[in-house]
Every structure is written in C-alpha cells, then in structure tokens.
C-alpha cells in the first residue's frame, strides 16, 4: 500500500487538516477533558490513559461530526460516553474493584492521610462532590466546574433538561447532608 500512503503524504493539507483539528482540540480542551474524566474514574493515571484514547477516538470519528452541535459538546459527549463504557467494562468491574477492597480495610496510614486531606474547607467540598453518586456528580461537575449550560449538558449526556434540574436539586440536598457529617 505504499502508493496511496505516498499520495496521502504528498496531499499534505488533507492529511494535516484532521490532525491539526485534533491538535487544536487538545490545546483547548485537554485539561478540561482530563478533569472530567477524573471525576468519572477517580484515578489520575487511568484518567490520563482514557483522555488519550478519547482524542484518538475523536480523530477516528471526526468525519461523523455534523455541524449541528458545537465541536466542544461533541468532544465532551465522546469523553462522557468513553468513561461510562470504561466503568461498565469487565476490566474495571473485576480488576479495579478488587483493588478497591483495600480502601475498606482500615489502616493507620490511610487514617492519617484522610486527616491531612480533610483539613481545609475546599477539600471538604471537593471530597463531598466526588463521593456523590455518578449521576449527580456528573451534572454538578459539568455545570459548576466546566460551566456548561443545562442545555449543553443535556446534549452531552442525552438526559432531559428537567431531569437534570431535579438531579442538581437532589445533589444539593445530598451535599448538605454530607457536609454536616464532615463538620
């Protein structure tokens, strides 16, 4: 297949165009996407791996992007779906969860860590949000951290706007309970 590759390389602007788009997307959104992924998977290196996969996926699916949505909501949607696929995957459920068992076995170092983590108000708020169930955590994060409108969030998650409103309200109630526990 040398011939076509050479042609493709010669045809530089065509090949480069899609690569440039991805480059630009990474430049603009990669940190936001990484943070979004982290709120789903709660693990730094997993989040980095998944973010990498997400941008490769964007490249592969770029020709399926129709101009109906903004490119930003499109990328977020790919990211959100990719994370949910991961959380549903065999690997995550069997391997990562068995690692998590250690979280429930009390140890001294763990307690110490938590004490350090717990000391500031910022950490209390962050930890409370991170411990919300996924469907609340997702909408809270997209709305308050990524500062997206409910309409945009609805496009990303394919959840009805009114449902999102209810979830936000419920999330606030849950948060208040959690904050009381912490303090």
């Amino acid at each position: 297949m040398k011939g076509l590759i050479q042609l493709a390389v010669r045809d530089e602007d065509m090949l480069d165009e899609r690569e440039q788009i991805i480059d630009q997307l990474m430049h603009e959104y990669s940190d936001d996407i990484l943070h979004l992924v982290y709120t789903y998977v709660k693990n730094r290196s997993t989040a980095e791996d998944l973010t990498q996969e997400i941008f490769i996926k964007c490249y592969e699916k770029l020709n399926q992007f129709n101009q109906q949505a903004t490119i930003k909501t499109w990328v977020y949607r790919i990211a959100s779906n990719h994370c949910k696929d991961y959380l549903r995957s065999w690997h995550y459920r069997k391997i990562m969860l068995s690692d998590k068992i250690w979280d429930y076995i009390p140890s001294k170092t763990k307690q110490l860590e938590e004490e350090i983590i717990k000391n500031s108000e910022e950490d209390i708020l962050t930890n409370s949000v991170m411990s919300l169930p996924l469907k609340y955590r997702e909408v809270v994060f997209l709305h308050y951290y990524e500062e997206l409108s409910l309409r945009e969030i609805s496009k990303i998650t394919t959840v009805n706007i009114n449902t999102l409103k209810t979830r936000l309200k419920r999330a606030k109630e849950l948060l208040k309970d959690k904050m009381k526990e912490e303090v």
């Binding site: 011939g3 010669r10 690569e19 991805i22 982290y38 990498q52 490769i56 910022e122 949000v129 606030k172």
Partner: protein, 143 residues
C-alpha cells in the same frame, strides 16, 4: 445558605486538580497513535486493489456487489471467496473520505469523493511518467 456549589471550581482546582494537566508527552502520544494507525490500516492492502476499486466507481456509483463483479472482470481476485473483506475496505475508504456513499433501495452505492478523484489522478500520472521513463530507457538502449 446560598448555592453550596458556588466555590466548587476554585476548590477543585486547589485540591484534586492541582498539577493535574494533560502533559505534552501525552499529547505527542496521541499524535503518534494517529500517525501509525493511519498507515497500518492501509498497509494490509495492495495498492492495485485499491486503485481497481477507485477505477470501478469513477464513472458511476456502484453497490458492493457490482464492484466485486467488476474486480473479477479485471482479474483482481483479492476478494474471491472472501467478499466480506471488500466491504471492510470500502468502509475504510469511506471513513478516509476517499469514497462517499448513498443509500438507494436498501443498497449502498459508492462513488468517488473529491479526495478519491485526486488520488486516482495522481496515481495515473505517476504510472504514465514511469512508462515514459521506461520507454526512454528502451529507446536509449536500442540506439
């Protein structure tokens, strides 16, 4: 108390997202993956096979079955007893925007995209150049 999530953004930035950034190494890894993926997908195919497909749809759009018949007529037997692979390749060419497709009567008709036309034209140009240089060689040798 007003909105409890008011300070979420700054709080998260100061805590869990502190120093959490998509590094340049990670970005390069993405680009690297894109490049190798681009090549390896086509590496499995013979360039003559691809050109034969492009030629078969250059004047009119055809469905997969008619493309396969035309390939046999051209003595291109890559897909003989292995027709499924043809559809994989058609799909790939479509994804790379070399072919476009239309659904007519539950059949998918493929035709050349502008990119595909360009490939085909450049390929033919190369072939004719090669021929000319060969002819030159033969001429010179016979003199």
């Amino acid at each position: 108390m007003n909105d409890p999530f008011m300070n979420l953004k700054s709080s998260m930035k100061k805590s869990i997202f502190k120093d959490l950034s998509f590094s340049n190494e990670r970005k390069s890894a993405v680009k690297e993956a894109i490049r190798t993926n681009q090549q390896s997908q086509f590496d499995n195919w013979n360039s003559e096979t691809i050109i034969a497909i492009l030629e078969s749809v250059q004047h009119e759009s055809k469905d997969g079955y008619n493309i396969s018949i035309q390939l046999f007529q051209k003595n291109e037997h890559t897909f003989q007893k292995n027709e499924g692979q043809l559809y994989t390749l058609l799909h790939l060419l479509e994804n790379k925007e070399i072919l476009t497709s239309n659904w007519i009567n539950k059949k998918k008709y493929y035709s050349l995209n502008s990119k595909g036309k360009k490939y085909l034209a450049t390929y033919k140009e190369d072939i004719s150049k090669q021929k000319i240089s060969l002819e030159h060689l033969i001429e010179e040798a016979s003199l």
